[in-house]
Symmetry: C2
Subunit: 226 residues, 2 copies
């Protein structure tokens, strides 16, 4: 593809997208350095719409907010609902509304942090737009990326959306309380996760009943203190 005139729109799209991703990687790297310098442990969450990110995050933040300085950025195409929900934990929360954009990128995160003093924050959560595909390409400068999958989504999801599992550090099986009603075979779901990503750290939780949350919180605090 030496001259522009021979390019199809698709070829151009791929090229321009690669440049955007390269730019995002540089911005994410700069963010990661800023977070490290300021001592902020950054955890991002990705999943399908409706996998329970916000409820899981609300429970996590409520458990931590008494003893730690925490904050959250939450991405959605529209509405400020999630920011309002998460603010109930007492933490600082800011909504990023993306319009029609299907993922957060490093620049959106950087802009949202504009008027926050990073040195005042120990742990920052970033809840991505609900999407099992596109967020996998965008580094946000996080130290830990969680992919959540609920027991109601079917055991095959890791096999059908492998990239997002490959770019995440931890898999979180959510809505454990619905496993029986949804007839989810958790052993198969777990096996499919480790088939895509052998040895992946895996938790199973119900944010509603609290089941499994202690193990997760213990792991999180250990990671944050590294």
């Amino acid at each position: 593809m030496s001259t522009q005139s021979r390019m199809t729109p698709h070829t151009r799209l791929v090229e321009v997208r690669q440049n955007v991703l390269k730019k995002n990687d540089l911005q994410a790297r700069a963010l990661r350095e800023r977070f490290a310098d300021a001592g902020v442990h950054v955890v991002s969450l990705v999943s399908s719409p409706g996998a329970g990110k916000t409820m899981f995050l609300e429970r996590t933040m409520t458990a931590l907010s008494a003893s730690h300085h925490i904050a959250a950025l939450v991405g959605d195409l529209a509405t400020e609902n999630d920011a309002a929900r998460l603010a109930r934990s007492g933490a600082r929360v800011k909504q990023i509304t993306t319009g029609t954009v299907c993922h957060l990128d490093a620049e959106m995160v950087e802009r949202a942090l504009d008027d926050w003093k990073l040195e005042d924050i120990e742990m920052l959560f970033i809840e991505n737009v609900g999407n099992l595909v596109c967020p996998s390409s965008y580094d946000l400068g996080e130290a830990l990326r969680l992919v959540l999958v609920s027991v109601t989504e079917g055991e095959d999801k890791p096999l059908k959306y492998p990239t997002i599992f490959n770019t995440a550090d931890v898999a979180m099986i959510t809505k454990l309380d619905l496993a029986q009603a949804a007839e989810c075979d958790r052993a198969v779901l777990r096996a499919n996760i480790t088939r895509v990503r052998p040895g992946m750290r895996l938790f199973e939780v119900s944010a509603k009943t609290g089941q499994g949350m202690d193990d997760w919180l213990e792991f999180l605090m250990l990671r944050a203190s590294d």
Copy 2:
């Protein structure tokens, strides 16, 4: 933006994407004409991953396959699982694996139809990649687009992903059998759908128990005979 050198990667991405969409619209228009000429009624399905598209489609296709010539194209990033499931209905089924692409486009549909004789098909279903954002921008030449949302995803999803509801013709609330366990307030979910899209045609089904399927099938047959 008069010169290329002044463009940011993002500006260029938006421009190139607009060209891709324009190209897709032309291809979709051509497809729609081909479908009309051949007498094929085309129905596409979009939803989050795990909203129950495949099970709903399997039940729909099984109900119709004895009396009608039906076929299906099914999109996923990876695996041929869904094609294998849908083939149990006895219909012709082809899997489109998109790799890392987060949606189907008109060109993929056209290519998949390459060795099928459209005149032999009365109804064609197209199951999109599980994604509540990106598929909304891509016309596939369908006559009817369904957006599915399951009772386990939370009542707020139509407000948070309005575009996909605006580009669909029919909303389908799925997994009705789990509504009580998931504590879904269906009245709120219905209200949120019609808040985004006043007057939208709406069905509530459980593909597992069969509840609501008769109403949907009756509607579908009426639309197909238009």
